[in-house]
Amino acid sequence: MKSIVLVTFAIVLATVLAIAGCGQKATYVIGSKQHTESHILGELLAQTLETAGYTVDRKFNLGGTKIVFNALQQGDIHAYAEYSGTIQEVILKESRTLTLGEITTALAKLGIQTLEPLGFNNSYAMGIHEDLATETGLSKVSELRNYPDLRFFFSHEFLEREDGYPSMKAHYGLPQSADGIEHALALRAIVAREIDVTDLYTTDAEIDHFNLVVLEDDLEFFPKYLAIPIVRDDLPEEVKQLLNVASNSLSDQTMAGLNYQVHIEERPTSDVAREFLATLNVQSTHETETLMDKLVERTIEHLYLAGIALFAATLVALSISIAVYSIPWLSKPIAYIAGLLQTIPSLALLALMVPLFGIGTLPAIVALFLYSLLPIIRTTVTALSTVDPVLLQVAEGLGYTRAQSLIHVKLPLSMPAIFAGIRISAIICIGTATLAAFIGGGGLGDLIFQGLQLDDTRLILIGAASAALMAIIAELLFEGVEKLIIPGHIAAANRISNDPVVA
């Protein structure tokens, strides 16, 4: 446990130094969820503060409303853009439609202040293909009643959530039943005229791109999803003012246009945000990272996460193993608990860390650390307790103390197995660290999530291949070290010499 304290201390120290080193103005952390629009809005907020001379730390790609909002409440981030409908349903868990005033009051009780809405409403909408609209003359949702044969396919979330299709079907009295489909697939299918109606967001970049028509919500079923920057209410007034920069200046069309530039034209979000800020007379000088910069930065983060977690896990797992290997009633439950940790899906384990440690590097390292314990504990305990009893008896008979027998006989003979455990843990660490981006831990996962979000296969591949390459290099490195410190015949004959012989 001591090493966890050490790691924590190191991270806190590093953070303090980083903040102190920045000098003049404070650092603010801007968050965003894992979709393009949230990214663009995050960039807008971030670059506005940077232009005013603040330092900004971007925690983008955070996995979901609860994680981002909790991070805001705990002070891990200072601001991000949220939607009124999401605040009402996911954060306040209110089924009744709330006014903006009610939302503001409710959030204020949680220590969060709503700024001015940005102007657009990114709500659900029903989309059909342009040609279908021409053929049928459909323009309003209520008119769908007249076409019972139309094929409805909706995103799984829309199919299932309370304010989704079941309510809408009742509200409009629609006869059609619907099936679930991935959003990206739905758009392609609608273009191919394989399906007829799907759910869209009103600011979807694809509306124009795929020649879709949005049906008017004439019976006003869909709640409003007004985009609003929300901030911690302890932020200085000056900063809150700055973050209001884009208030009421983003229409549905403008936002869809920005989304289009990123999503379809594949331009970097930071460029798109900078150019939009210029239209508001904010001259951001933020330079978009090149792919190479990103790759290098993310690789270093990745190594840092996996490296510290593995190092701490090795120390702790070895200490635990050495302490308990000779006590079966203790070593078995410990291996069992470590095994239990392993069965928790990695994403869930990461998410579980958020309430305990907030977001960022620390919870990611703790999760990776817990994940790496089992392989090392299991192989070490097994190896230490199966060393040839004849050799141990000889050591004892010759006059080795228990500690000397452990250090000079048991541990060296267990080295190949211990190394195998550490190698497995290293690979697990490097692989799982790609999920750290989910809770703002950075790493190569950032590239993968960004690629997923932008439907950019190249970015996904670069992220995934780099992680894989790192795993291979780690493997080779361990092999090299192993060859250096373990005599070859021990590595090879480890199993044979473990054959128990009774004298």
Partner: protein, 248 residues
């Protein structure tokens, strides 16, 4: 130092309970100084158990063992064991250590200087007819016979007054065994240590030992000087052994 006439090891009314039964009870025996004593007996008669009572690997359930004039200490037994050499069947060399480390590791841990270690090591290698070049090799690179010689060197490294040998030469072929037995006899003559040898090989006992302890039926059937035992075997088991081994 105790007088030369005092026994090297003395068992008084020893009983040892293992598993669910007494291995033996009422053992009274004396192991003479500067001689080789062989413990023989049918398998299961407790030969190895008796040996392990000497260096404290086992504790007696009844009676007392006195070794080199003192009781076996309760604490810091490792210091006590360092006065007693120990070698087992199959050599039992540490496979991850070089030959030199196998022999000298304990001396290093015991605080010997490099010079002391070097002198003793070279002496032992010479006495056991081992090549100096072997020092850097690992046990698996040596023949079975060489491994057993190294095992003897290791047991003798700390200049013990007493050497315990648990069927040390039983896992090697007959020719090699003969050679090592010859070396052992020469070694003992030169260094004059006391030794206790557990063996199931009566011929080995007659070749190496000066003194015999014959275990059987949960107690000592006979003990005494080699020739005396051979001349007047006290049990039918021994009688048979003596006849088959001495009149091939």
């Amino acid at each position: 130092m105790e007088s030369d006439n005092a026994p090297c090891v003395e068992f008084k009314e020893i009983g040892k309970f293992l598993g669910e039964h007494w291995v033996f009870r009422g053992i009274d025996a004396q192991i003479p100084n500067a001689q080789v004593t062989a413990i023989i007996g049918a398998s299961g008669s407790g030969k190895t158990t008796l040996l392990r009572l000497i260096n404290g690997l086992y504790r007696p359930d009844e009676g007392e063992v006195t070794v080199l004039g003192e009781d076996i200490p309760q604490k810091s037994q490792h210091l006590f064991r360092r006065k007693i050499g120990y070698a087992v069947q199959g050599a039992g060399l540490f496979p991850h250590m070089t030959i030199e480390s196998n022999i000298t590791k304990l001396a290093r841990l015991d605080g010997w200087t490099q010079d002391q270690i070097q002198i003793r090591l070279d002496e032992l290698l010479r006495l056991t007819d081992l090549d100096f070049e072997m020092k850097e090799r690992y046990p698996h690179e040596l023949s079975g016979g060489q491994q057993h010689r190294v095992s003897l060197c290791r047991a003798l490294m700390l200049e013990p007054k007493l050497l315990l040998l648990d069927e040390p030469f039983s896992a090697i072929d007959a020719i090699t065994r003969n050679e090592i037995q010859d070396s052992f006899v020469a070694l003992q003559r030169q260094l004059r240590f006391s030794a206790v040898l557990v063996t199931h090989d009566f011929r080995e006992a007659t070749k190496l030992a000066h003194h015999l302890i014959v275990l059987g039926n949960g107690t000592i059937e006979q003990q005494g000087a080699l020739q005396a035992v051979i001349d007047e075997p006290a049990s039918s088991f021994l009688q048979e052994l003596v006849e088959t081994e001495t009149n091939p």
